[in-house]
Structures are given as C-alpha cells and as structure tokens.
Symmetry: C2
Subunit: 137 residues, 2 copies
DNA sequence: TCTCTTGTATTAGTTCAATAGTACAAAGGC
DNA sequence: GCCTTTGTACTATTGAACTAATACAAGAGA
C-alpha cells in the first residue's frame, strides 16, 4: 500500500493517512476485502507513532471504509453495499448544505452555483482508468 | 447591531462575530455603507477583549465584507461591486473544488451531486424579504 | 495645536488537538 | 500452555490557535 506523509504541511498525519486510504479505495487500488498493513508495520514504515496510525484506522472504521478484527488485522469494507453508500451520501449532504449556506450568504444563487460546479468538474483531471467509480450509479 | 456570543460552545468568539456580521449583511439588515460599532464599543458590549473584535473585523475585511478607515471606523462594503463579487466567487470556487474532490473520493458522480444540490436547495427555508440577493445576477 | 477616537502592534497566558511513549488485552498457531 | 501478532488504553508532551493585557500610531475636529 503506497502512502506518503509530508511532515509539517499543515494537515495532521492521521488525516493524511485517512485521506490517502480513502482515495486508494475510491480509485480501486485497494479492493474490498483486502488487508491493510498492521498498525505497527505502517507506523514503522511512515516513521510515526503506532497510535497515530491507530487513530487513522479508527476514523476509517467510523467512516465505514474499513473493518477491524481484533487480532486478525484491518480489512477494506465492501464499499458497494447500500448502507455504505447511504453513509457516504449523508456526509456529502452535510458538505452540500454548508456550501449552500455559504453561497446564499454571498448572494450567489443556486443556478450560478451549479454552473460553477459543472465548470470545475470538467476542469478536474480525470480519474485513473482502474477507478471503480464508473461502475456505480 | 444585534450580536450575541455564546461562550464555550466550541466555536471561537471571533468566528461567531464574523459569521453573524456576514449573516446580517447577507440578510440586508446591515446595508452597504453602514458603519459597524467601533472595536472597543463592541468589545465592551460583548465582554471580550478588543483584540478579539479586531480580529473578527480583520477577517471580515479580508473577506471583502467590510472596509476599515484608519481613524474613521469600519463600514459595510458595497457587496454589489464586480470586484467584491469576483472575490466571493473565488471563495465559493474553493469550496466547490473541495466538495468535488470529496464526492469523487466517495464514488459519487457529478450528476448525482447536482441532483443532491437541487434537493437540498429546495429544502432550505427561503431567505428574508429584505435580502438584497434577489437584485443580483 | 491639542485631544479624542479610531484601528494597530506586540507580547503573554491558556486551552486543546495532535502525536508519542509505554503498558495492556485478546485471539490464533505452535 | 506459551508465544507471537493483532488492536487498545492511558498518560505525557508539544505546538498551534484563541484570547487577553497593554502600549502605540494616526487622522478628524475643536
């Protein structure tokens, strides 16, 4: 599993791990059922404290991305399950609400906002070929 | 100007001030050109240190919401000016990019996202009658 | 010019999130 | 049963964000 930490670029180490694992899973490079490195192993490789990795794994479990089995290791959850999708929609909905609130505060109407989203979406570099995204919805 | 601080509900005082002023401006209760209370006055009223209010005003100036004149006071900026709008769009664009990144990470495509935005937008309670939003765009 | 009122700058204290150090607990294989 | 490997729990340290105390600077108006 390819993870890289940039110390002191502002974003906490545990969050860097969380985000990169999320990305690996979203892009299909980490398949459902696959095992993540043990906490200590990853901690050693990244030169951080095991607790920091443990925290990242805990957040990932909370987010439904992985499942931990007490002494057997940590595994990628089945992301395509309806529950997982529902959870993800819940999170994105929160972000959308926040965005709408801010846009309203700035006198930017919904149509303009959606137009902006189309623009930025097209401007984004396309995902990797191996991504599983295209299979969903 | 009606501002209330709830001490220790987690969100920093200066941010509470920023948000409430933003809201007052967006809702039209604070019109462009109107003067905000002097830093010391508001600090006294809210029972906080003048520096805390000063920080809030600084953030508001950065956000283009208000303009400070060295010894004359702080005034609500003309929000309808093209420059101000450009600044606001810049900020919202950042938020949009972050949202798109997160959605992609969660295997939620742009169409689904836009659909969600429509839903949530309609679910939001309508703005106040006095808002100036309707005049723009 | 003087003085009052405005925002500004510098410094220090306090709180809290992030990380690390270290010891514990549980399950599986020999 | 014992040992290794897994995740867990507790405590301490550190650094950044927030707030405050206090002194400074500059413009408006009598």
């Amino acid at each position: 599993m390819q993870i890289h930490i940039s110390s002191h670029d502002g974003v906490p180490i545990y969050l860097q791990i969380v985000n990169q694992v999320k990305y690996l899973v979203a892009s299909g490079r980490l398949a459902a059922g696959e095992e993540l490195p043990p906490i200590r192993t990853l901690a050693e490789r990244l030169l951080v404290n095991p607790n920091t990795v443990a925290r990242a794994y805990r957040e990932l479990e909370l987010a439904g991305i992985v499942t931990k089995r007490r002494t057997a290791g940590t595994y990628v959850s089945d992301t395509t399950s309806p529950l997982a999708r529902r959870e993800r929609m819940k999170i994105v909905t929160e972000r959308v609400d926040a965005l709408l609130a801010e846009a309203r505060q700035m006198n930017i109407d919904t149509d303009t906002l959606i137009e902006l989203i189309h623009e930025r979406s097209e401007a984004m570099q396309p995902a990797e070929a191996g991504a599983s995204r295209s299979k969903e919805k």
